[in-house]
């Protein structure tokens, strides 16, 4: 039984440590959030695409005056080359990507990086269910709207 007395505290310590220290590396800056305004084409499919993104601060106010930000598209499964492009500001805190491309069908994560108030930030959102161009059966959730059904972290 002494074994259990050693192992169980070790496990509890691991859980505690993972909760306390988790995500120190690569943690997004929670001061900035990103919304998907639109995705062209809609619904999103493999190939060239244009993402319109809106950045907001903690109070939900649009962030303006950044000029451009870096936008990275990556996927839920590791091992794919990320798509990294610039997005220029078009007014009303909307940023438009240039040269973005969905290289594979599936769920995409969009990471926006930039500098605001002198501090680097990273904000994330997702674009689920990017379809391959040759077929269009959608999952039930994707049928419910004409847009990209973005979810926000």
């Amino acid at each position: 039984m002494w074994v259990l007395r050693v192992i169980i505290p070790l496990l509890l310590l691991s859980v505690l440590a993972s909760n306390l220290i988790a995500c120190q590396r690569g943690q997004q800056n929670s001061q900035v959030t990103v919304d998907i305004v639109s995705v062209k084409p809609s619904p999103p499919q493999v190939g060239a695409a244009e993402l319109r993104l809106r950045l907001r601060d903690q109070r939900g106010q649009p962030i303006v005056g950044l000029g451009s930000v870096e936008v990275e598209g990556t996927m839920s499964h590791a091992g794919m080359k990320p798509v990294i492009v610039q997005a220029r500001e078009e007014g009303d805190a909307v940023f438009v990507t240039q040269g973005f491309e969905f290289t594979m069908a599936g769920d995409w994560m969009i990471i926006v990086r930039g500098t605001w108030n002198g501090q680097a930030f990273e904000a994330r959102t997702t674009i689920p269910g990017v379809r391959s161009g040759i077929q269009s059966p959608a999952t039930p959730a994707h049928d419910q709207g004409s847009g990209a059904t973005p979810t926000h972290e």
Partner: protein, 483 residues
């Protein structure tokens, strides 16, 4: 005696004997060869655990999202195809086992009510279901917990039960490796059977005892007695038998893959006759079916299929849907294989209707493994280089400086996508060739006419065509199934 001396001196050299190869041979003869390999993987496992618990939650940005699911899986199948069961050999989960043995001095036998591979089979199915249901590949934290669970399970089980109970009866990865190693070009085997015939100590299985009567080297803890060991099943390539043999009559040797594995009626040491082992039969069927299902989960049509199934059955629980698909998929393969076996039994006028199934079901193993290999190699070949920017990023975050340079995120694929596609098709075709050859050679060995074996060839062709269709589908990197 002269023969033994010759073996010790290594005068019976053969190019197929890996212990006679320069550098490699010397390392294999080193008693701590396995430990050194295990330490390397242990360090990698600790890095994965660290990043899994404390790193970014995005799988592509985390060592726990990349190393296990892209590199480890790809290298496992590559090693099995090109060398042998290297990842059981270098398994880091067994290092804590040594500690457990010192602490507990396990004397208990594995329970008789849990014989063979039944528990491992259940765990295998549960693991692959959990992999899909909880998107393990997309969660570094869950991946880290899976690894922790593995370490704890190996520690507890081998601390409680004597022998290599975890490897033989529990480890799902091990069972995958055992079946994959059927196609491996190496085998741990005896150099000269006549030497074993005159052996009285049987150190290769009982262990080697020193002059003081103390155990100096374990023998095979999976119960494989070298003179009667057949092929690679249940062999972890631990090399205990190699180091235990006092006359160095056990070695790692090159071989023609599959050839010695074909006959299920051969009495294998530690296993018995495969034709009498329903657990092994179901393991082959399960791994083959899961291989196709796992690949099916990566292509676009699965979304349409699951959507249709969800609406038809009015089920919105993804876990339940996946469980149904798993049961239906493996069940369908099982029923088809039973029908093929029944047809073979009838055509061969066998006494038992099960005869054909028991003889030929193992011929599906190469095809099933090649489906896994094609799938895992796809991920590896298209994503192997992602470890470079990831390591750069890891070092930069941990040390605060880009000591290895700024992350080169443009690095990903080892080969162009079209070449990868052709390559994985070739691997899959090789598996089909292996399965068809297995059935035909076994049929010839059993003196059966071609039409008796035909049901199995037809089943293999159908599976092969389904697999080719799967591999031709657009891939999807999914994290959600029902939106």
């Amino acid at each position: 005696m002269a023969h033994r001396t010759a073996l010790i001196l290594g005068s019976t050299r053969s190019p197929s004997d890996l212990q006679h190869w320069p550098i490699l041979g010397r390392w294999l003869r080193w008693r701590h060869a396995r430990t050194s390999a295990q330490v390397v993987l242990l360090i990698l496992a600790l890095l994965v655990l660290y990043d899994g618990f404390f790193g970014p939650p995005l799988a592509p940005k985390n060592l726990a999202g990349v190393l296990p699911w892209v590199h480890w899986r790809g290298l496992v199948v590559l090693a099995l195809l090109l060398v042998g069961n290297l990842f059981c050999f270098a398994c880091p989960f067994l290092l804590p086992r040594r500690l457990a043995r010192r602490l507990f001095r396990a004397q208990r036998a594995w329970p008789r009510w849990l014989p063979g591979k039944w528990l491992a089979l259940v765990l295998l199915i549960v693991f692959f279901w959990a992999y899909e249901a909880f998107d393990l590949w997309a969660s570094p934290l869950l991946t880290a917990w899976v690894i922790i669970t593995y370490f704890v399970a190996a520690f507890l089980i081998d601390g409680f039960f004597r022998g290599a109970a975890f490897c033989k009866h529990v480890c799902p990865i091990g069972q995958f490796n055992f079946l994959g190693s059927l196609a491996s070009p190496t085998v741990v085997t005896v150099r000269d059977p006549t030497v074993c015939a005159s052996c009285v100590t049987k150190d290769c299985i009982r262990g080697h005892f020193n002059a003081a009567g103390k155990l100096a080297q374990h023998g095979c803890e999976l119960g494989l007695f070298q003179p009667r060991k057949v092929g690679n099943l249940d062999c972890t390539f631990c090399l205990d038998c190699v180091h235990a043999c006092p006359v160095q009559n056990v070695t790692l040797r090159l071989r023609v893959p599959l050839i010695t594995e074909l006959d299920p009626t051969v009495n294998r040491s530690g296993i018995g006759r495969l034709s009498n082992r329903p657990d092994w039969m179901l393991l082959v069927l399960g791994l083959t079916g899961l291989g196709f299902l796992n690949a099916f989960g990566m292509v676009s049509p699965v979304y349409a299929f699951l959507s249709w199934l969800s609406q038809t059955l009015h089920i919105t629980s993804e876990g339940l849907l996946l469980a149904l698909v798993f049961l239906a998929g493996v069940g369908l393969l099982g029923i088809t294989a039973l029908l093929a076996g029944l047809a073979t039994s009838v055509l061969a006028r066998a006494r038992s209707p099960w005869w054909g199934f028991r003889q030929f079901v193992y011929s599906l193993a190469p095809l099933g493994f090649s489906m896994w290999a094609a799938h895992y190699l796809f991920h590896f070949l298209t994503g192997a280089l992602t470890v470079v920017p990831l390591t750069q990023s890891f070092v930069m975050d941990v040390f605060g400086h880009p000591l290895l340079g700024w992350p080169a995120w443009h690095l990903a694929s080892l080969l162009p996508m079209n070449v990868v596609h052709q390559f994985v098709l070739l691997v899959f075709a090789a598996g089909f060739f292996g399965s068809a050859t297995w059935a035909l050679v076994l049929g010839r060995h059993l003196q059966l006419r071609f039409h008796v074996v035909l049901p199995w060839i037809v089943l293999q062709v159908v599976l092969f065509l389904f697999g080719v269709w799967l591999l031709d589908q657009p891939m999807e990197m999914r994290g959600t199934l029902l939106g």
